[in-house]
């Protein structure tokens, strides 16, 4: 166990102050909610370093819908996201996922920006963001830039983020009419549990039950969250029959590379990925009246 009594913590109130400190003080690590980082510091997973506490930068805590885009400030907590009418309306997948991020205590403190930057492949917010083609607004001394969530991750915990930059906002363009989808998560307990596998399936169905668009994202089965183009290809243009659902589900194995860890073997994760995609497709099909 490490203690943090000798750590310097810089507390800031504005984004500007935060960026200034990040540029001027070397080796700072940004702490938002801290629900992951404090544990990682105490257990030595992350080396002890001085901290930049941005938890009070209130300008980054908001949910807005402007110009047809859902904008979520990076410091918005999962409880706020879960409760947001705007999120429920424009990105219900994300609201579903937000409700499963740990306990209520974690939901009250953990932020979407923190979850994104912590970059756990099992992060519950990420599969919906992948399925929704979310974009991140990144700010730094050189101004702001936008990066697609898929492009933000370069490998296991490798980010397209410079030491003097911050993730400021998550942007989601609502997929539009006719989309239905669900988040799924397999934990080893019904209460608070980290995902063995999680994911999101988002479909656009024609009135005849033909899949017009399909987005399948999976977490905890690769160094980063992944989309499954193989599965999506099977779905698009097909009628959502059990046979198609199984074929689409099985196709996900082409796009994942799970590993063994304390929560489950790679082989089990592969099976769960297939079976959860099937169950989620089946659920969507039943909800839309495609199957009884």
């Amino acid at each position: 166990m490490q203690h943090l009594a000798d750590v310097e913590v810089y507390s800031v109130r504005t984004l500007r102050e935060a960026l200034e400190l990040l540029s001027s003080v070397k080796g700072l690590r940004v702490i938002a909610g801290g629900t992951d980082l404090i544990v990682q510091l105490k257990t030595g997973v992350v080396p002890k370093t001085n901290l930049l506490d941005v938890s009070r930068v209130d300008e980054l805590r908001y949910v807005r819908f402007e110009d047809g885009i859902l904008r979520i400030g990076a410091l918005t907590t999962f409880m706020e996201i879960y409760r947001s009418e705007l999120v429920r309306r424009h990105a219900p997948l994300l609201a579903e996922a937000a409700f499963t991020v740990g306990s209520f205590q974690i939901m009250n403190k953990g932020t979407i920006g923190g979850n994104i930057v912590n970059a756990s492949p099992a992060a519950d917010s990420l599969p919906p963001l992948y399925a929704l083609n979310a974009e991140l607004k990144i700010v730094g001394p050189r101004g702001e830039r936008f990066v697609r969530i898929q492009d933000f991750y370069k490998g296991y915990k490798k980010l397209d983020l410079m030491a003097d930059e911050l993730v400021a906002e998550v942007r989601i363009r609502p997929p539009g009419e006719g989309y239905v989808g669900h988040f799924f998560k397999h934990g080893l307990r019904r209460g608070d549990a980290i995902a063995v596998v999680n994911g999101a399936v988002l479909l656009r169905l024609s009135p005849e039950g033909i899949v017009r668009d399909a987005r399948v994202a999976l977490g905890a089965v690769a160094p980063t969250v992944v989309r499954s183009p193989s599965s999506e290809r099977v779905l698009v243009g097909s009628r959502l029959s059990p046979e198609v659902m199984w074929r689409a589900a099985e196709a996900v194995v082409n796009d994942i590379s799970p590993i063994d860890d304390v929560r489950g073997s790679a082989a089990y994760r592969r099976e769960l990925s297939v079976n959860y995609v099937f169950m989620t497709l089946y659920r969507i099909a039943r909800e839309t009246g495609v199957v009884a």
Partner: protein
């Protein structure tokens, strides 16, 4: 002259309020000015020789007051059955939690930093972590005298004859895992010097026994040590052995300063004891009509690195492995085997959950083979009061198993068996039953408890005993018993507990028998008080009264005279007879069966669990949707604490059955926190219906019997029997994690079948 009837009433617990508002003090809540913070260096290896320990750098770290190693311990071995456990390791380390050195520092942080500066030169040795391998003669030796800590071999009745005339024989092997207690308060305590004595205030279960262990290790007279056990944040057997006590006493004794040692959660997971993992092979002989003739049973318990309470756990496993049935013959071979895994010792059920899991799965498999209803098979063979059990002992105490099974048979949940429609095509519903038994008291081992009863000057009553309040509610129950015996309101009974300086030795709080023991000792104390009143009356009137009765706050003498208890207190004091009496209760027992320590018991608990599950064929997840726990409860002293005990036991049983998977690889614990070692949450424990079957335990106080452990014992087999009912797959190992069950389902083609059915 009936008493107030506190017994049987759902009286709110006296400790609940102060606990709910956060005012109750646990050992981990105590801080003393000028105290030292103690941290423990633990072994990095599951098995290694220690060549050298260099503490010099740690000693010169700022704020470090002292560093202690084995060289500082006067008698460096402790343990309840065998003194084989080092206070601080000297020659070897034998598991990953083994303590090597203590740092005492002015600050917590400096103590932690100094730990990293202690240099230990290890010579890693090959670990042995599989008990079956450990039994081989060429296996690495955990202790010099070999890896078999203890073995029991019993041949009861004509086993060969039974197998020769059997119509069916069923044989299976069962496995259970290393369940971790995971009490919410980790092992914790403080220590200080007072009046020349070392005082240790720590979470524990038995202050007198802890005192004896400390005294032995420090080579001091017991009178020099005082042990106090405040409210304990959960124990379940995990605080039956020494945890922080000797380390704390050592630091205070050597430095003269107060000290505090609280284990981190990770430390608790590694260095705390576990439930013994078990491998149990059962071969059952039965006739076509379902009469069980004999069981051949082999039990191997993984002891981990040190003996602890293992020998008694082995005995309990042996005693209960035939289940609550009229088995005519049995051959039992049981082994307690050292490994370099973490130490196993007491955990609620104490060997019974393992063997009952095995025999109760075996009963369902036998029923299946016979084509019988599993509940009818159990009922047909169920023990009855007066039966001779397989060890030759006649069951003279209450035996409520048949009544429990009858309640189960007519319960709507059991009757709904087979009605299995589910919301989704991948779900399957099942209902399972399992029976339980376990001896309570410590059986053939001698067991005596004392309580003191003091009449206070204001007429209230003070009961003093060394029983510990580990959450079970014994203090409340003792107060209720004393209230009724003395005819006072329960609010007029004060209870002081668990302090070797103040309370007499009420023996250990374990084995579901503290209420039985303390309650009977209170009864004896009331008898002693009656006797003293008679003596008083003899002195005052020159005539010994024939009858002394307590009622309504009065003592009535031969229905002629009465004194208020306040007046009685005054009279007892003024005549020099004294206001305090002792009650001594010695638990009845028989001599142990040759080759055993505590078999048989005179008193047994019984129960039946019904469980309803939903199995997801595509994930292996088992959701327990309803549990009914039917308990042969004797007389219930307090229905709230009674059902609370059973509900909590059921929840632990659900964890044991499905979820609590201590992953141990080559002696290393991989699940060292509560995010990887999962215990049931509010969403994992379903509705629990507790049904007491009130039999009468004639020897128990007001007919009460032990109930603390019975609720857990048949939960796991009931759940697995339900899984088998739901899926047709027969899982025989727990915890039945999602992944384990998934592969079984897949192996049996259920996943493929589902797929074919849906396309």
């Amino acid at each position: 002259m009936t008493a107030q009837r506190a017994v049987g009433a759902p009286v709110a617990r006296r400790d609940a309020f102060e606990k709910a508002v956060g005012a109750a003090k646990y050992a981990s809540d105590l801080f003393l000015d000028d105290m030292l913070w103690v941290a423990v260096l633990r072994s990095k290896y599951p098995h290694a020789r220690i060549r050298r320990i260099d503490t010099s750098k740690a000693e010169s770290h700022p704020n470090v007051v002292a560093v202690f190693t084995h060289r500082d311990v006067p008698v460096n071995r402790y343990g309840l059955f065998k003194k084989d456990r080092p206070v601080l390791c000297d020659d070897k380390v034998r598991y990953i939690g083994d303590p090597i050195a203590l740092v005492a520092a002015e600050t917590r942080e400096d103590a932690l930093e100094a730990l990293k500066l202690i240099e230990v030169d290890y010579e890693p040795l090959p670990p042995v972590t599989d008990p079956i391998e450990a039994m081989r003669p060429d296996a690495p030796k955990v202790h010099d005298d070999g890896n078999i800590c203890r073995e029991v071999h019993l041949r009861l009745g004509d086993v060969d004859g039974a197998f020769a005339r059997a119509d069916v024989i069923v044989e299976n092997t069962y496995r259970t895992g290393a369940q971790i207690h995971a009490y919410l308060e980790t092992e914790a305590g403080i220590s200080y010097m007072e009046d020349g004595k070392i005082v240790v205030v720590a979470g524990g279960q038995s202050p007198y026994r802890d005192r004896a262990e400390i005294a032995h290790a420090l080579n001091l007279p017991e009178e020099m040590i005082r042990v106090v056990t405040p409210y304990v944040g959960g124990a379940f057997g995990g605080k039956d052995d020494i945890t922080v006590q000797i380390h704390l006493a050592l630091v205070t004794w050597k430095t003269g300063r107060p000290a505090r040692l609280v284990w981190s959660r990770e430390e608790s997971m590694m260095a705390g004891t576990k439930r013994h993992p078990a491998i149990i092979k059962i071969r059952t002989a039965a006739t076509r009509d379902g009469t069980i003739l004999a069981n051949k049973i082999e039990i191997v318990l993984d002891k981990g690195a040190y003996t602890a309470l293992g020998p008694a756990v082995l005995d309990v496993a042996v005693e209960n492995c035939n289940g609550p049935y009229r088995v005519q013959a049995s051959q039992i071979d049981a082994y307690l085997v050292y490994t370099n895994n973490m130490v196993a010792s007491a955990f609620r059920g104490f060997g019974a959950p393992q063997v009952i899991f095995a025999i109760e799965r075996q009963m369902d498999l036998l029923a299946k083979k016979l084509g019988m209803d599993p509940l009818e098979l159990r009922l047909k063979n169920a023990l009855r009061k007066g039966d001779r059990y397989v060890f030759g002992n006649v069951l003279e105490g209450s035996v409520g198993i048949a009544q429990c099974l009858e309640v189960a048979r007519s319960h709507p949940l059991w009757r709904s068996r087979g009605r299995n429609s589910c919301e989704w095509p991948w779900l399957r519903r099942g209902v399972g039953v399992a029976a339980a038994m376990k001896g309570y008291t410590i059986g053939a081992l001698p067991d005596k408890g004392v309580v003191a009863l003091e009449l206070l000057r204001d007429g209230r009553v003070l009961v003093k005993g060394s029983f510990t309040e580990i959450g079970q509610g014994v203090i409340q129950a003792v107060a209720q018993i004393a209230a009724d015996l003395l005819g006072v309101s329960v609010d007029d009974v004060e209870v002081v507990f668990a302090d070797t300086e103040v309370t007499p030795d009420t023996s250990v709080t374990s084995a579901s028998r503290q209420l039985f023991l303390a309650g009977n000792a209170v009864r004896e104390a009331v008898e002693a008080l009656r006797e003293r009143v008679a003596e008083l009356e003899g002195r005052l009137s020159g005539r010994r009264p024939a009858r002394v009765e307590f009622s309504g706050g009065w003592v009535f003498i031969d229905s002629e005279r009465r004194y208020s208890l306040q007046e009685l207190a005054r009279l007892l004091e003024s005549t020099g007879l004294g206001r305090q009496v002792l009650g001594v209760y010695e638990v009845p027992r028989v001599e142990p069966l040759p080759g055993t320590l505590e078999i048989p018991h005179l008193f047994y608990m019984f129960g039946v669990t019904l469980a309803e599950v939903l199995v997801n064929l595509l994930t292996g997840e088992v959701t327990v949707s309803k549990v009914v726990s039917i308990v042969d409860a004797g007389r219930v002293i307090n229905p709230i604490t009674f059902t609370g005990q059973v509900e909590g036991a059921v929840a632990q049983g659900i964890g044991f059955a499905l979820m609590e998977d201590a992953k141990i690889r080559d002696g290393y614990l991989l699940t060292r926190d509560l995010s990887t070692y999962l215990i049931p949450s509010s969403k994992d424990v379903p509705e629990i219906e507790v049904i007491p079957v009130e039999t009468e335990e004639a020897e128990g106080p007001f007919g009460a019997k032990g109930i603390g452990e019975i609720g857990i014992i048949s939960v796991a087999p009931a759940i697995l029997n339900a899984v088998a009912d739901a899926t047709g797959v027969e899982p025989n190992a727990i915890p039945l994690t999602h992944e384990r069950l998934y592969w079984l389902l897949k192996e049996h083609g259920l996943v493929e079948q589902l797929r074919r059915a849906s396309t």
